[in-house]
Symmetry: C2
Subunit: 233 residues, 2 copies
């Protein structure tokens, strides 16, 4: 299994996916046929979203096909070499994947060796559930289970800051609540600009920032420095 | 029907529910027997949560009973004069109400004339669905439908600010996505410190701040000034 799971698509002062080009290029090693899943996009037109990703990946010569334009999405997944899942709304993404029967198809194909690349909602989709999304529950996803390609949860766009004066819960409070309700879970709070690569039974943190590790047995979140690994049971 | 729906429990520089005491007192006009629903609390012990609310309402002489301490929660709802629903995690609140069969019981009792007071998740619960919560989906609520005591959605803790440098979606982006997916909805973005009173077929905004009105037919969110009303169809 080979996955690249990014916190976000756009870093301050950089263009769309610019910070992701190097790790994507390293992962693909010249492979060029990618299937793009735009279903997290709600307001953006899926053709326009696919074009945006295609353009961003031009430096790598990747050929990006939108899954919504294929005649048979399941068949397209079954032969895909590279599956790219973009960000947006996680509930919308899970619903549209589930409605088309694609959750199992993607799981199987990645187990068979297809490379999975996702950012934000697309990184969340690789987790056992969508329970660590920051998104608004705008549509019912037909269940909170997701792909389960990894055995821990990612909280993308991780930060513990709040807007000045705001009384809502911090991210740490939210994740502490999650672990109270779901003590079996492990969560990586993945800051913007960072990513995880998954290969050979382990996930490795990369990027400029430390990530936060949340587990029910830790009194305070642990610190994951870049290069740290998490073993996939 | 008589509802008081507050954005939040604690305003900067004020004690717990301090800003809510005057509107609660005005609504209750001397009635004193309140049933408190603490199910949105995840980490806080429900007894401790009930005590905290009881203490905050001491100036009004309100007697607060936690519904989790009643022998028959449905029966307690069926005779309640005042139902108070506290904030916390909306998914947790809806799940625990649904699991106990209380959504319908509360709906019926409020239609019969019991006063409903809720803040944050408790305000969200009065809406048709939980779709405008800001909370993390830590547990499956068994459906996104909620009490439907009003015919529009409240987004509590409304702000359009982000932490400095953060790339996640603004609240406006989230609500615009909601309306794209659910164009039939009307949403009031209720800033911290504000509340809505519902009586005589209309909801009236109160508090120090303007609220935001989101509807699919509005190019930009409308501005609701304090005193504005929304008619309940």
């Amino acid at each position: 299994m080979q996955l690249l799971l990014l916190s976000n698509s756009t870093c301050p002062g950089k263009s769309y996916l610019e910070h992701a080009i190097a790790p994507i290029g390293e992962l693909l090693r010249g492979r060029r046929q990618a299937l793009f899943v735009p279903f997290a996009g709600v307001i953006v037109d899926w053709d326009a979203y696919t074009d945006k990703v295609r353009q961003a990946l031009t430096p790598l010569g990747v050929d990006v096909m939108g899954i919504h334009r294929t005649a048979d999405a399941g068949a397209a997944i079954a032969t895909a070499e590279i599956i790219i899942v973009g960000g947006g709304n996680t509930f919308h993404l899970v619903k549209h994947c589930r409605d088309r029967g694609l959750l199992r198809a993607i799981h199987r194909r990645v187990q068979e060796g297809a490379t999975y690349i996702g950012w934000s909602a697309g990184a969340n989709l690789a987790c056992p559930t969508l329970c660590t999304t920051n998104d608004m529950p705008i549509v019912e996803p037909g269940g909170f289970d997701a792909l389960g390609l990894i055995n821990f949860q990612i909280n993308p766009h991780y930060t513990n800051q709040l807007p000045a004066g705001h009384q809502g819960e911090t991210r740490q409070q939210r994740l502490d609540e999650l672990l109270r309700a779901r003590p079996e879970m492990t969560v990586v709070g993945l800051p913007e600009g960072d990513w995880l690569t998954v290969a050979d039974g382990a996930a490795t943190l990369a990027g400029p920032y430390d990530a936060a590790l949340y587990r029910a047995d830790l009194a305070e979140p642990g610190v994951l420095t870049p290069g740290s690994t998490i073993t996939l049971k």
